[in-house]
Symmetry: C2
Subunit: 201 residues, 2 copies
């Protein structure tokens, strides 16, 4: 089955390329198949439906994300630097996969099915747990005062996500936020992170 998994990965990579450029809804199974020079039924041999493929794509993206942030989870730096790095990583992923609209329940959200939404919530939960762990370690190191790390992680991530959400909505109605808006957004998130940490001390 290792061969099958490899093919699945190739398909996922192909799908991502299209998704990044045109978004999920504007990408057809035919196009993905043509890109890979296979027939549509071949795709359906590896994925029962489009949702499953999208699920695979989302899963890969989050796997990549967690792989990167895990590296800096235990490195010997301050909480502020750590959260700064994480914020920048998130920002990179946000930019790269912007067309997939993964940043929460946007209205024309590409995540139509309940299956996708529930998987997305699982990833969100995992990210919260990850950050809770980060806060927990910071408490152990005496960097911040003891608190309910899960609640704090949720609040922290939601505050950052909220800023993202507002920036997208308020911004120009182009389909892509401008470089300037993106930068302003990141700045705000970094500022908020700093204040947040100081507020926890």
């Amino acid at each position: 089955m290792v061969e099958t998994d490899k093919k699945r990965d190739v398909i996922i990579e192909g799908a991502i390329k299209r998704f990044i450029h045109y978004g999920i809804n504007k990408t057809t199974m035919n196009e993905i198949a043509e890109d890979l020079s296979v027939s549509k039924p071949s795709l359906y041999y590896y994925f029962p439906d489009k949702n499953s493929l999208v699920l695979g794509v989302i899963d890969k993206i989050f796997t990549d994300y967690f792989e990167i942030v895990e590296k800096d989870k235990v490195s010997d730096i301050s909480l502020e630097d750590r959260l700064g790095i994480f914020t920048e990583v998130k920002h990179r992923f946000f930019q790269k996969y912007y067309m997939l609209h993964l940043s929460g329940g946007s209205p024309d959200s590409s995540l139509n099915s309940d299956e996708l939404k529930s998987h997305f919530l699982k990833m969100k939960k995992k990210n919260e747990d990850f950050h809770a762990e980060v806060f927990k370690r910071a408490i152990e190191k005496g960097e911040i005062a003891p608190t309910d790390v899960n609640k704090i992680a949720e609040l922290y991530l939601e505050s950052l996500a909220g800023i993202t959400s507002l920036c997208i909505m308020h911004g120009n109605k182009e389909l892509f936020p401008s470089k300037k808006e993106m930068k302003a957004m990141l700045e705000k998130q970094l500022s908020l992170s700093k204040i947040f940490i100081k507020g926890l001390q």
Copy 2:
């Protein structure tokens, strides 16, 4: 012209009643006129078009809001209590006027015209200035450390608004958020306010 202004106010009140229940777009000028037992052209005698009426409505709502918060701008309480009160006032207004979708550039935003949007931005700016002033006083009192109050006010308000925005989007797709969601939202905003203040010290 005091008589004219009175009539304008009556019309605005009538419009608000409809807007609160059905939203701006689902309220017709005919309905507002009928509620007030006048003809449609009478409405147009006092307001050149629907936008102007909506503008009057928004203006009244914000006037009411600022009137309330101004009272507690200088009262002898801590910054935390002050921001807590303001957050609750905002929350009350948010609930009351939820159907008007005034909480920022939501997608199906009722604020179609540029005129309305620009007026809305003015109100937003005024609110930022108001909060900047609050932070400035807190600095003078030694409650928090000196910073760029305008930037901080913007960041603070945007963080709170972001939480609101996420709550609306993530929540059930009913047209009205549940009591439970509303309460959770307020809790988060109050928590964030506290951390925010502590982070500024």
